[in-house]
């Protein structure tokens, strides 16, 4: 595995060289993790100048968590109040780097000023989203972790469906799901679990409340495991009680058809906005123009919301081995709604098309 990270750093080094920077300073935690396999809080990674890379951190990672790979020079700052990025910039200066590319989208103005001051004489440039770009297409190790994360999420959700739901609060159901994720081997929840009942169901962003599940409710659940740092999500909507009402069946069918259209549109070379359009058109054709979220999916990986974005204004095309969510939803104020959310990996048709990672049934279950 250590080799994986050094290959990734070599690719970053090439990009920097092409842009005229002798070295790069990486501070965004998910980027540090991608390039080293570990992300101790506050760590900064200096890639170059030259062939040696250095991880500067405030204290060694706790035992039992991922450690920096052996080939990486590792420096622990004497004072935990120090700034690892400042120390790394100072190191770049001592090593006579003439240019240093830094993550201006992550560094605050105050920290950037401190870097400039310690690395006087080193020309600071913007690394921008170079590491995020490298992270877009996943290797099979990464996809294997996502696959396990999805399996854990499906298990936790499946167990919930077998339990009594009526009378329990959204907050309790959310906590129970998070406990089950850990029971099944997750590092933790990939994001705060969302449970919405009745009028709260189907909302794109809902914070679980003390509302209890009632007969006749829609119940929307969205959860995901983090496994070895990789995060996935699965979302389903159920009906509570004996039989769904006519409006519930109709709404569910529309969202289900939209989600299927989005899944089927996933292929290498397809524009991200076209996937969004495929999903969204089904909803608008069914008369749902209000209450749609401004996106219908997004990339996942070391962060739960990564590029690519599946939205009307998204630029760029999908590649093979890019994991994304497809998650349309409709929320009718005062009544509730439906969201259906899967994590899939884009694959060419020759390889069987998109790989569905979250396999919990998408039938409308009456629980």
């Amino acid at each position: 595995m250590a080799e994986v990270h050094s290959v990734r750093r070599a690719r970053l080094r090439e990009r920097c060289a092409a842009a005229g920077a002798a070295a790069a300073l990486v501070t965004r935690p998910a980027n540090v993790q991608y390039l080293t396999g570990c992300a101790p809080p506050g760590a900064a990674l200096l890639v170059g100048p030259g062939p040696a890379d250095t991880l500067v951190h405030l204290r060694p990672p706790p035992d039992g968590t991922a450690q920096p790979p052996d080939e990486l020079r590792s420096i622990v700052l004497p004072s935990p109040d120090g700034d690892a990025a400042v120390a790394a910039a100072d190191l770049a200066r001592q090593q006579h780097a003439d240019g240093l590319a830094v993550e201006e989208h992550h560094l605050t103005v105050t920290r950037h000023r401190a870097l400039r001051s310690v690395a006087a004489g080193v020309h600071l440039t913007d690394l921008a989203g170079s590491v995020e770009q490298l992270r877009l297409v996943k290797d099979e190790h990464e996809i294997a972790s996502l696959r396990i994360a999805a399996e854990i999420s499906d298990q936790a959700l499946g167990e919930l469906l077998e339990s009594i739901l009526v009378g329990r609060t959204e907050r309790h159901l959310a906590l129970e799901l998070e406990r089950r994720l850990v029971d099944h081997g997750a590092d933790g929840a990939a994001f705060p679990t969302c449970v919405g009942t009745g009028p709260h169901s189907g909302a794109a962003r809902h914070i679980p409340t003390d509302r209890r599940v009632e007969e006749g409710d829609f119940l929307s659940v969205r959860l995901g495991a983090s496994y070895r740092g990789y995060r996935c999500e699965v979302g389903r909507t159920f009906v509570i009680g004996s039989a769904p009402a006519a409006w519930q069946i109709e709404l569910y069918d529309a969202v289900f058809a939209a989600q299927r259209a989005g899944r089927e549109a996933l292929a290498p070379g397809v524009a991200c906005r076209d996937v969004d359009r495929a999903t969204r058109d089904v909803l608008t054709a069914a008369g749902h123009t209000e209450g749609l979220a401004p996106w219908t999916g997004h990339g996942v990986g070391l962060e739960i919301d990564e590029d690519p974005q599946l939205s009307p204004a998204a630029m760029g095309k999908l590649d093979a081995c890019v994991p994304v969510t497809v998650e349309p939803g409709v929320h009718l104020p005062g009544r509730g709604g439906v969201r259906i959310d899967d994590t899939l990996v884009v694959r060419p048709v020759a390889d069987g098309g998109p790989e569905l990672l979250t396999i919990t049934t998408k039938e409308l279950l009456a629980l």
Copy 2:
């Protein structure tokens, strides 16, 4: 309550005026929350120019969560991909603010550049930690919330002590504690609950593992509730089994004495570093010079780790109505250790001295 927030904004306006800035742009979430009572993700608060303040956000806060106060102008951006800070800076320009103080310790270089570009002609200055300074001394509303957060934390911890512990893993105990916090009315955990058993006990920063509680172990627990946004912490160390070993009693007594010394040192006007020294000196006198954390306490409030810091290099003095933790610990590699952690409010002697918020017993319990 709305009045509380407008008084806070008036104080900030005075500070800005004194520094020559006609308006302030607040983006750090805890600062926005302090000044408005709500903190929708991505929101930005424009204080001034003139008497009117504006909260710009990406979408309205979900129903059931805190809403912006009525007297505050509230603007929802048309696109959720927008940057509320950029929109607020543009508003400052339209209102002919000649100077705008921004939070350079929170804004990234990239966002700051976007602000500069949209607010061309407006002189941008650094608001620095002005709002954090205002947040240091808490009013009685804030302390009342902390008091409830502490009560919830004590309840969750108390219930854990009544359950069977041997054989359960650190991760499960941590999850159970977090569930109990919510059961008792917390918004959620104030920080990730820390449970360390045996060789993991007493470590300042430990991430719960699958290690199970065994007879003879030290068990360290550190948890805290968040209530109405206010966060407290309580930490205790127990012994598992019939009777503690001699080394365990000795170590516990040393940490207990250090923690008491720190608590007793808390008073208005006392230098923060002197509180740290009072705590630390007891440990070093007992021969514990290795494995001490670089701080022995810190402020709490809307964030779990705020100013003041209680550490050897800390500047400044304590004030009345400042809530802090006192949390010394000793960790012996391979054997484990002890941490004892309380949240207290600094009060003058005339008012009875420091107010202990977390009242769980600090006797060495054998569970």
